[in-house]
Structures are given as structure tokens and as C-alpha cells.
Amino acid sequence: MAAEKAEMDALKKECDALRTQIEAARKAVNDSSMSAASGGATAVGRVQLKLRKTLKGHLAKIYAMHWSADSRQMVSASQDGKLLVWDTFTGNKLVAVPLKSAWVMSVAFAPSGNLVASGGLDNICTVYNIKAASPKTLRELDAHTGYLSCCRFLSDTEILTASGDTTCCLWDLETGKQKVIFTNHIGDCMSLALSSDMNTFISGACDSLAKLWDVREGACKQTFSGHTSDINAISFFPSGNAVITGSDDCTCKMYDLRADQEVIGYQDTNLNAGVTSLALSSSGRLIFAGYDDFNCHIWDSLKGEKVGVLSGHDNRVSCTGVPADGMGVCTGSWDSFLKLWN
């Protein structure tokens, strides 16, 4: 009994020492700030995007949307129990996928365009073939013990999921089995983003931490702290060297992976609404962040200043996405509409 207590005390002591060491190492490289460095960058001026289309078709709150790699099709998910695949150039609905469970929280398009996936309070990630004559369920990935908050395809044979059970998981779609389970968060995982080389991914959770993972090894490589509430949204900066997060604490943050720390924060004393979603413009200069205040606010990622707003929704903006070609922004809302801006 005493031996166990002694070991526990030694482990706690080592934890504290390692935490102190990490903080000291971060401080040692913190020789400047991004806002100081970006003083010399050209200002972007006021960013005024126009509403180009309002996509009507869902009958209840929209919870998620994801662009296809072709930058033309897009899939949206609503708690009316449907996924809708849209042609955003014409505004037409191409495919409607009826869901077994209406409580959907996430949707994803496979890079091939052949498959979409969704999941939510059913704890299951369901993958559908949308190229068949009528949408066909390909797989039901059922092993999480909490809600499915986010999913992203690596290919037609692998998908990553994030769950309220605090884990993320890499699945093999040929077998329907879990390949790698990523455990380290101590709160519900809310969001994930895959790096462009697909070797790493980042997750944001209700423990207010963002974590960087090795996809194949399952190891957590880095942990980023600073937020004071749930992280709901996360994205890679296009160079792959930084991560942007959005939180219920009403702020967004940029963490640089190689400096291993926050380099700039995006907050405004007049903005007292949680961040639900975020997406970056193709150069990474603009951050489009959806908030509970019904707006999508636009931030200059380098200077940390608010440079515009997309207003028009009558309820919370729940999802935001920029297509691969960077030609516009799509916002989805609890008001049941999707809007396209550029």
C-alpha cells in the first residue's frame, strides 16, 4: 500500500516537472508576437462579400456541411433527417439521403465524390454510396460509446471520426472495423481536421485542448492549451504549420505547430457569442468564423483584426466551409438555410 502511494507521488512529481519543462521550453522560444511581426504586412481592408445564393430545402436546423473536392458539389446535414447533396453552381439538389437517425451532427464528402458519411447522437458513422441509382448504405461504423461529432474521409477506404466518448478513431471501410483508436482527450471530442498529406490530424475537445496526432501510430504528438471552454471548430492553416481553433469561450486562436504554442488570438469585447465553426481562405489570410450570434465574422489571420462580417442568417451559424479552389464561403445555419458568399 505504501509502495503504491510512493509510486503515485513520484509520478505526480514527474508530471509537474515535465509540465514546468514544457512551459519553460515554450517561453524560451517566445521571442516575439505575431501581431508585432505582422505590423509590416499589407492591410486587407474591409472584406465585403456578397450573398450569391440561398439554398433552401432543409426543413429543420442544419448542423453540418462539407464541400466536395471538386469545389462544386456540397453536402449538408439537417435534423430533418436528411443529407442533401447540392450543385452549388445551379443551386439544384442532386441527391437526398434519408437518415435512419435524424439526430445528425456531422457530414463528410469523400475526396472521390463517390461516398458521403454522417453521424450524430446514434453514436454511429454511416457511409453511403451516392453514385448508386439511389443512395445505398455501404457501412455502419458502430463502436463509439458517445455521439459522433465529426468525420473526415482519407479515401474511399479509410475514415476518421471524433466522438463524445473522448476518442477519435481511424476506420477501415473495407472491413468496417476500427484500425486505430486515439485516446488522450479528457472531454468530448468536437471537431477534427486532416493534414493535406494525411499523416497527421488535429482534434479539438470539450477539455479546451487541441491535440495533434500521428494517423498511423495513434500517438498524440502535441497538445495546445489556452482556451477556457470547449473547442468546437478546428482547421489547419494551408501551409500545414499552424492550427486555428474556435471555442465556446468566444475566441479563436492560432497555434503554430513548430513553435508549439499560441501565436495570436482573435477576440473582440463586443463579441460575446461562442464560435461554432471556422474555415480559411485559400491563402490562409482570412478566417471565416461562425458564431452563435447568427453571424459569420471575418478575421485577418495575421493581424488579429476583424475585417468583415457575413450577415443574413436568422439563427446560429452552425457550419462554415471554403471549397478547395477558394472561390467562396458556404455558411449553414439553424435557420435551415445554406448561403454562398464571395
Binding site: S38, S239, A242, V263, S283
Partner: protein
């Protein structure tokens, strides 16, 4: 009395912290300038920064023209 599972948990936490402590870090000034350079190099190809001519805008509703 610490349970065997809480000891296992503490061991895992130490392992994880050892991994995170061992990474090489670069200076924030270098990280910032690299991010700024990336934005600068890609700005001219960023349609949302540069604007999109109406004729090339895939989302803009095309209205029919009448030649009078």
C-alpha cells in the same frame, strides 16, 4: 489509496508528457515570418482576397441579357 488504474493512468500521463516535452521548437519570430510569407506568396491566387470578376464567378446567378 491510489488504485492500480489510477497509477496506470498516471504512468500514461507521464509517458505522454515525456513525448511532448521532447519535441524541438522553433522561435515564434521565425514561425510568424513563415506564416506571413506563406500568406504573401499566395495572396494573389486567393479569390476571396482579390475579388472575382462577375464573368468568372461560379456562384453568381446569371441573368439573361436582351439585346435591344
Amino acid at each position: 489509496m491510489p488504485s492500480s488504474s489510477s497509477i496506470a493512468q498516471a504512468r500514461r500521463t507521464v509517458q505522454q508528457l515525456r513525448i511532448e516535452a521532447s519535441i524541438k521548437r522553433i522561435k515564434v519570430s521565425k514561425a510568424s515570418s513563415d506564416l506571413m510569407r506563406y500568406c504573401g506568396e499566395h495572396a494573389k491566387n486567393d479569390p476571396l482576397l482579390m475579388g472575382i470578376p462577375a464573368s468568372e464567378n461560379p456562384f453568381k446567378d446569371k441573368k439573361p441579357c436582351t439585346v435591344l
